[in-house]
Amino acid sequence: MHLALPPRHTRLLFLALGVLLASGASAQPISVVTHEDTPVASLSREDVADLFLGKRKLAIAGRVLTPIDIGDETLREAFYQAVAEMSAVRVNAYWARMVFSAQGRPPRKLPLSEARTLVQAQPGLITYVPAGGNGEFKIVLRLP
């Protein structure tokens, strides 16, 4: 049996993060971003949650907006807490159900730097990044 426990300090960090989020204060502001040429002005928190959880597809100019998830676990945890009040574990458990019952597939998950490059290069993709210095994107939702 493989029990890969993260180092103690990492777990403490996550616990501290969880406490911060539970008390309503987000650890870091996050921007939900897309390419300048994607024909969408802004999205609500619910739109973004539905999009990343595959509950709804958003079609723009006859094509479906494609979410790109981020591999950085701290950022990912903060993002899903902010848009859906769900921990990363709950998001993964939710996708385990959807995937293995053939109801859907999760968004592609990329490292932050790769997701940035991809979203800058191509309209119609949507991802999330730490807020600040995001001049290269169109921000469709700001998460406090």
């Binding site: 029990l3 969408v40 999205l43 958003l58 574990v89 293995f100 053939a102 109801q103 191509q122």
Partner: protein, 364 residues
């Protein structure tokens, strides 16, 4: 309403291409290592071929624990290939390998082709799990739920998958996300381990003309599911001959789940109607848990009762469980569970039992 340029495509429009999504194949999988031991129980003689004191942990595959600790009852692993075949077509294959004696080896539980008619409409053809219960579709994926196993006073029936077709619709009604599906098909089980408990010899079971519909509604912290399934049933025993031929059974189910802050509530009601020719049964469960950091302790109560039209003895049982889930990381969990099972049947059944089980679940 944010995003004025958003519009949902009309249902019958041509399949919508996704921006930047190319054809690809994804491999995913799940693993559950489950061990258990009956601590104490009232029955001292074997139940059918099972050594007792005993606890039935999985009806569909007849995974039964006794006083010897065993990892070979419920442990399982599954792998799924998920291929996107162009803009509107995708294909899935899911194989599950089980350690359970009598159901040992690998089986193909899902093999389906999906066609996306429009963003909100999909058609699936092939082999799928039969969604009698809320967890039916993903009962093998331990990581997706809080217990070691969904309460067995409800879960598990003769048939778990079927061959057929389904039409599914996803939409949003006001504040509610809705998913509805309609399905039709059939299933043949050549040597049914569950029916084998109640009839002698090798028992063949056919469910044909399975026709069903379900509706799942989600709003904020509340999730509801309704299901109705009917089918014709044939049951034949190698020793007793035809037991049922083409009789109609009806299944009704209701589930309500809450995830509010750190609280979680899981509840389900299932009603099985074979009264015209045999029996009817009612099963229910209610679980309440509270998330504390990476831990989810939970109490669950479940109950099963059937009645037989011939006035034969009935089966009735109830279980009180305490389960504790610990999330090791975002993809794996460790669980410990204690079940106190009480047998109130008037028929000769398994007797009371207490079970301790431990599970390691992961998805990849």
């Amino acid at each position: 309403m944010a995003g004025v340029s958003l519009l949902l495509l009309p249902a019958l429009a041509a399949p919508a291409a996704a921006w930047g999504e190319e054809g690809d194949v994804r491999v995913s999988g799940f693993l559950s290592l489950v061990g258990g031991k009956v601590l104490d129980g009232s029955r001292q003689t074997p139940y059918n071929d099972f050594e007792c004191p005993c606890f039935i942990a999985d009806w569909q595959h007849m995974a039964v624990y006794n006083e010897d600790f065993g990892l070979d009852r419920e442990s399982r692993a599954g792998i799924q290939l998920d291929a996107r075949l162009g803009e509107a077509w995708s294909a899935r294959l899911q194989a599950v390998a089980r350690a359970t004696e009598g159901s040992r080896g690998a089986s193909l539980d899902v093999a389906s082709i999906t066609y996306t008619l429009a963003p909100e409409w999909t058609v699936q053809v092939g082999r799928k799990r039969l969604p009698i219960y809320y967890y039916s579709d993903f009962q093998d994926v331990g990581f997706a739920y809080p217990w070691v196993r969904p309460p067995q006073d409800l879960y598990g029936w003769e048939v778990g998958s079927f061959n057929g077709a389904s039409l599914a619709h996803n939409t949003r009604w006001g504040e509610w996300n809705a998913r509805a599906s309609l399905f039709y098909g059939g299933e043949h089980s050549g040597d049914n381990v569950l029916a084998g408990n109640y009839f002698s010899g090798r028992v063949e079971v056919d469910w044909h003309d399975i026709l069903g519909a379900d509706l799942e509604l989600t709003r904020d912290w509340l999730n509801l599911r309704l299901v109705y399934i009917q089918s014709h049933v044939d049951t034949r025993s190698s020793l007793e001959g035809d037991i049922f031929s083409g009789e109609t059974q009806r299944i009704y189910g209701l589930a309500a789940n809450i995830d509010h802050g750190n609280w979680l509530v899981r509840s389900e009601l299932s009603f099985f109607d074979r009264w015209d020719f045999y029996f009817k049964s009612t099963a229910a469960m209610l679980g309440v848990g509270y998330r504390v950091g990476d831990f989810t302790p939970m109490f669950t109560y479940s109950h099963y009762r059937d009645d037989n039209r011939f006035g034969d003895p009935y089966q009735e049982n109830r279980t009180l469980s305490f389960s504790l889930r610990y999330d090791i990381d975002a993809s794996s969990a460790l669980k410990l569970q204690y079940d106190r099972f009480r047998d109130d049947s008037t028929e000769d059944f398994v007797g009371d039992a207490q079970l301790l089980s431990i599970a390691y679940d992961r998805v990849f």
